[in-house]
Symmetry: C2
Subunit: 426 residues, 2 copies
């Protein structure tokens, strides 16, 4: 038998795991300082939960199976349906606004591509319980706070902000009916990735003349929401007002420099109802790093009350590529504080006593289980990425060697254990 | 449609999530200070990987499914097969001993019971690449270091240590043949949970007389490995020597007080080859908190070389029950450093500027999005578990109120942003 990992999954060897943990810690730290609290749901849900949100088409994109009780289950492709289910179950006892984040592991039964695997992690940040623009600004600010925390600048990544109601109003204005709306949104979503000819063709298949398509492109390319007020778009005043208010809030919080309006941002998912946005590398070469927006209908669709909701998801794969390209990945190798050695067999019990005591006191410690020549042992200490080598010289004396500068201090074993912070700084 | 979680899975609302994170952080902290590095594998593996380790019987205990390419996949019920697969794939480049830990999410397709769900987390600690007793001592020390780190004492939890070779030698001595060995190990494993009559019956079904069963119980109840040296057990000298050396190592590391020899510890899994152990609540009322031992054949079974391996797994569910019973669960509610408010609409921009600046500087900050009466706002600050309320009084002045003691300082907004650590300690 040949034992290979499943195609499209990842093995996290210690180096890859360190990167995954570093990203998750940044996501968690930024979420908490922005006033969000963490939740998670099960990896598997009833298939119906995803069907109810996304329609029957979603089933072919899921890992699904039937359990021994005959129930149709699926591995979650996103956490938003779970979020809505959990909030609905306690809607009357949770104080609002509900500011929750999560770092779920997600699954999709697709053929793997660069930056798009069958198993991945996604940071999710959501605010539930308010129809105001404040929560949209909160989510976008948190997203920007994360980008800045990781060392990214507006020259590396930007947030393009659009509006679902303005987009559908534009489509209606040029003649797209309700029946074709989803297909038109999907075609619009692809506009930036195809030639103008291909885009024109997809629009003509939806019944739009070349003139109507040109008009649509002109509206889509507006640089400022105010420019759209005189275009006779349904509901434009409210949607434009929301966007202008959003900019005002983010300017006050000194975060707008990462943002720009871009009405070509559509977001594929049918469920968005208001402001929508995507984070892209500034060069526009990669898939979206993050995406989100307002989804005011989802809780109701899943059996709850009508409650405003907004949020975004950020995957780990494209973010890691972007950080690597921007030279922002730090050295993540785990370090030991101390590697304990001896060149004398009889002193191994003192090695063990020191190791046990240091570990109990929080010092990251490992040791060589056999006495050998000091030159070999110091080599091993370096290979283990230790800051200090502790050389046990007799049952009570330690040579504490700083492996960066080479200096060695003579310390009593009991002094080292009495105040390890003095020597190791933790 | 009715949207319920899948039976036997858990929703992690913020309170449960805080406990899960607290446990994972303790597992991670203790692993790192004991010189282990973290890895993880995919949630899904080829079904054959689990078949190869555990036999065809395992299939009925797994969530398995067929992907669109016709491959039989399964959700991992344990991470050891993945560990062996990953180590085998890089066996020639990984320096030994390989000291790895993991905190995987695992799955089993059973009916849920107390402390045993269909989805759970398990801390895994393994050392690969050495046949010595040192790595067994390392793993057991790390397990004890975790128990002590969480505030548990030998009065709360103990590690019962046995030996697979001694157990099989005892069974052989009283007449159990190779054909019945697995069934006899399984029956022995249950001995502590059934009456002596039931145990006698299960042994008689394996062909043992009452006298042979009595002799087996006498051997099993030996208190010290040395007592078994004169019993004519096959390979006893080596196995007893390992146990005595293990005790000596753990005594030197001042950890033996959590341990005792107990030859009735069998561990159900067929793959153990040496020292085995289980952590139990001292009262013996709960399922095992952790279990492990030496498994020297697994890497070879999965297509790799013959390499010594030892390790243990500790689940989250029973540990949480034990900690709760011992009164060792801390208050885990998330705290805000600062909740920013104002009673004047015109000052909301200053609220936002302060909020944005504090968050960027690492201060956990949230705010009231509307101006209201200060008494209502301070109530909200308390409900949000904030240490301080920052009351914006004019565009440049802040009343910083310590919510624990009630004292209020008058601070310039820019001073607060210039040195937040001075006011918030982070």
């Amino acid at each position: 038998m040949d034992f290979q990992p499943v195609k499209g999954t990842r093995d996290f060897y210690p180096q890859e795991m360190a990167l995954r943990n570093w990203l998750a810690e940044a996501w968690r730290r930024v979420s908490l300082r922005n006033g969000f609290v963490e939740f998670d749901g099960p990896v598997m849900e009833h298939l119906d939960l995803f069907r109810a949100k996304s329609g029957e088409e979603i089933v072919s994109e899921l890992f699904s199976f039937t359990d021994r009780g005959g129930r149709e289950l699926a591995l979650r492709p996103e956490i938003t349906p779970t979020l809505a289910r959990m909030v609905n179950a306690r809607i009357n006892s949770l104080p609002r606004p509900i500011k929750w984040f999560s770092i779920p592991r997600l699954f999709r039964a697709e053929n793997p591509q660069r930056g798009r695997l069958r198993e991945f992690f996604q940071w999710n940040v959501d605010v539930i319980g308010s129809d105001d623009v404040f929560p949209d600004a909160e989510c976008i600010f948190t997203c920007i706070d994360l980008l800045a925390e990781l060392g990214l600048r507006p020259e590396d990544a930007i947030i393009r902000i659009g509006s679902r109601p303005l987009t559908t109003a534009m489509l209606r204005k040029v003649g797209v009916g309700d029946d074709n709306m989803e297909a038109a949104l999907a075609a619009l979503d692809k506009r930036g990735r195809v030639t103008p000819e291909q885009f024109g063709k997809s629009m003509s298949e939806l019944g739009l003349s070349g003139e109507a398509t040109g008009e649509l492109c002109r509206l889509q390319d507006a640089k400022d929401p105010s420019d759209l007020l005189q275009e006779g778009l349904d509901g434009a005043a409210g949607a434009v007002g929301d966007l202008l208010r959003l900019r005002e809030l983010l300017e006050t919080m000194e975060a707008w420099r990462f943002c720009r309006f871009d009405f070509s941002v559509v977001r594929g998912l049918a469920y968005y109802t208001g402001i929508v946005y995507e984070v892209h590398d500034a060069a526009g070469r990669l898939r979206a790093v993050a995406g989100g927006g307002r989804y005011d209908n989802l809780l109701e669709v899943l059996g709850g009350p009508a409650v405003g909701a907004t949020g975004f998801g950020m995957g780990d794969a494209v973010l890691a590529i972007l950080l690597e390209q921007a030279g922002k990945l730090p050295d993540l190798a785990e370090r030991l504080d101390c590697f304990v050695v001896t060149d004398t067999d009889d002193l191994l019990p003192s090695v063990l006593r020191l190791v046990g005591g240091l570990r109990r006191r929080g010092v990251r410690t490992d040791f060589a289980a056999r006495a050998r020549s000091l030159s070999k042992l110091l080599k091993e200490a370096n290979r283990r990425n230790a800051r200090y080598a502790a050389i046990v010289m007799d049952t009570g004396r330690i040579g504490l060697k700083d492996l960066a500068v080479g200096e060695q201090a003579d310390v009593a074993l009991d002094d080292l254990l009495a105040d390890p912070a003095k020597y190791f700084g933790r």
